[in-house]
Symmetry: none
Subunit: 199 residues, 4 copies
């Protein structure tokens, strides 16, 4: 429910190694607190302490609490984005089925690596006033799937890609919430839903 315009970007990207380490430590600390205790427990003092830096240092890199969480979203979405893009690139000369399997591997493993974190970050996305660029990262899955479907002449690729991504997310999220960990089983079930929808 984005409303006001809190600063949502890091003050500066680190250039030197030590600064980068601090920057990353802060993000990782925020991630740990987020997955362990939830959004409401993420506070700048706790993050700084867990990161092993002072609040003052934290504020050297991040102007607001929101900017930390937004950057975390960016980081994780970016990892997924790259997996997805390379899967689609790789799949351009493969069958639709093969490529979708690769995409699902990417999506399922990404979600299940740190399932609590993945879930929490979805919450953060819906709470934070993210900018378009950041929201676009989340949109990546959909866009790439749409490209893929278009390339394979699937009809109505826009709506179809949105629905496929949505239903896949629905099943994977539910599995994450239910603490399921068998990625192969989840993959199989999502696959069934996706190809069912496409058929």
């Amino acid at each position: 429910m984005p409303k006001d315009q809190t600063a949502i970007h890091p003050r500066k990207r680190p250039r030197q190694a030590r600064a980068a380490a601090t920057f990353d430590a802060i993000l990782e600390a925020a991630a740990r607190i987020l997955e362990k205790d939830g959004f409401d427990s993420v506070n700048t003092n706790a993050v700084a302490e867990l990161a092993g830096v002072s609040v003052g240092s934290l504020y050297q890199y991040f102007p607001t609490k929101e900017s930390i969480l937004a950057e975390l979203v960016r980081f994780y979405r970016n990892v997924l984005k790259e997996k997805v893009e390379s899967a689609v690139a790789w799949g351009m000369d493969k069958t639709l089925e093969e490529t979708i399997d690769l995409l699902l591997d990417a999506a399922v493993s990404h979600q299940l690596e740190r399932p609590e974190l993945a879930l929490a970050l979805e919450q953060v996305e819906s709470i934070l006033p993210l900018d378009n660029e950041t929201l676009a990262l989340t949109q990546t899955m959909v866009d790439n799937v749409e490209m893929l479907l278009s390339a394979h002449n699937v009809s109505n690729p826009g709506e179809t890609s949105r629905d496929i991504v949505a239903l896949a997310r629905g099943i994977v999220d539910a599995a994450g919430l239910a603490k399921e960990i068998d990625q192969a089983a989840i993959h199989r079930r999502v696959r069934r839903a996706v190809f069912g929808y496409l058929s």
Copy 2:
């Protein structure tokens, strides 16, 4: 990420008409703030003010802020639960297809009546330490679908029902987030995914 045991139940259910009005006004005010400004903006002073009652009155009925939101979850889940149960009861001597259509009507219309609220309440469910009884309300959809599938001899009804509900929720949530309002269109797409999965 339920952790501690905050009080999560109303202090007392209203007996008199005046009290019932206050009780309901508080829930409705919380719902309005939730759908308009999000979880973090729900604070007891704001809720009391919008409800047109004093904080003191609010605390006569609800021992904690959380208990208000939990009761809101209960209320809305209960509405859905009843729709779903009557749909399944009605459908016992109908075809699977007819019944699922009825269920999807219930689910889609429930979600789209107040889409922001529906989305926000899902967040609330994941944030609040709800008790089993309350969580069970949410489970209702799954249980009823499982009964239905069993009655129609669908194989592996447990997993199947969970997945169907999850994927439907995925598509409907995404539609809600995207501010889609054409219920028939959403119904059609969910239907496609559900029957695709079942086939």
Copy 3:
């Protein structure tokens, strides 16, 4: 540390039997809460509930919370006052030793009947802005002892009576705090201190 002038008296003394019962029930409820949970837990809602009356009724009899506690002090001090006065009256033609023993019986048994309450009421006395009349009740012991000592030609009866009462209270309070219950033993020890002082 009496400061401002909160109303400290009942609104009216009950005339009819039913009213007297309510009045007493309120005092007894306050006493129970006081001895069980301490000064800070005495609140008008709790007192009314334990007394089995509505807050509204409570405020018919007592204009403020303080007036309840003040009346409780009055009531208990009055019981002691009467015991003490009759002991002194009885002792006018007895030996000093016999009379003091009777006084100590009164004092020790009064303190040990409801030891937690007795202790709590001493606290209340020091916290509440009691009026002179009420404080005078507490003064009764001292005044009567002074009369007694004068009648027996003890020198400096003013200071002596104050000290005797104070040291007796010191020992009895400590015994109460230590949850001692053997009244005879406590009596013996106080006696020793009193006659030691007098000798």
Copy 4:
């Protein structure tokens, strides 16, 4: 009437000079309010304001209001404890009478330096859920007197020391309440009671 387990210890002891000043200012402010307006007037906002610090700073050092008062008790009891211990140590090769005089000096002057505070702290002790360590400080007087009496072969030193301390406290408290300030006179009267008891 200790019931629940509120945090009763400082969050951290100050390390730097500035921090120590803040810490002490908070304790002194609490002491001032306590002796001037009583227990019920000690609230964190008032303490912070009188200490000349922000509430936030107060809560850096003290996790709860209770922890401030508990620390105040610790501080003052510790001062007395040290006086008493050195008096007893000094008196080991002196007569009982000389040593008791020294002890009474310590006790009387300690109580009369800030008589309102001393009285209020006794109340605090009975209200707060102090831990054993803190309560033991108060017990120090008794233990030391017992050692002293044993060393001088007084019979039944346990009970005797408890009673002596109790009666002395009774007289000194009463003197404090009566706003007496002549320490020599009070000393003389307590002395009379103590040696009377011992004889």
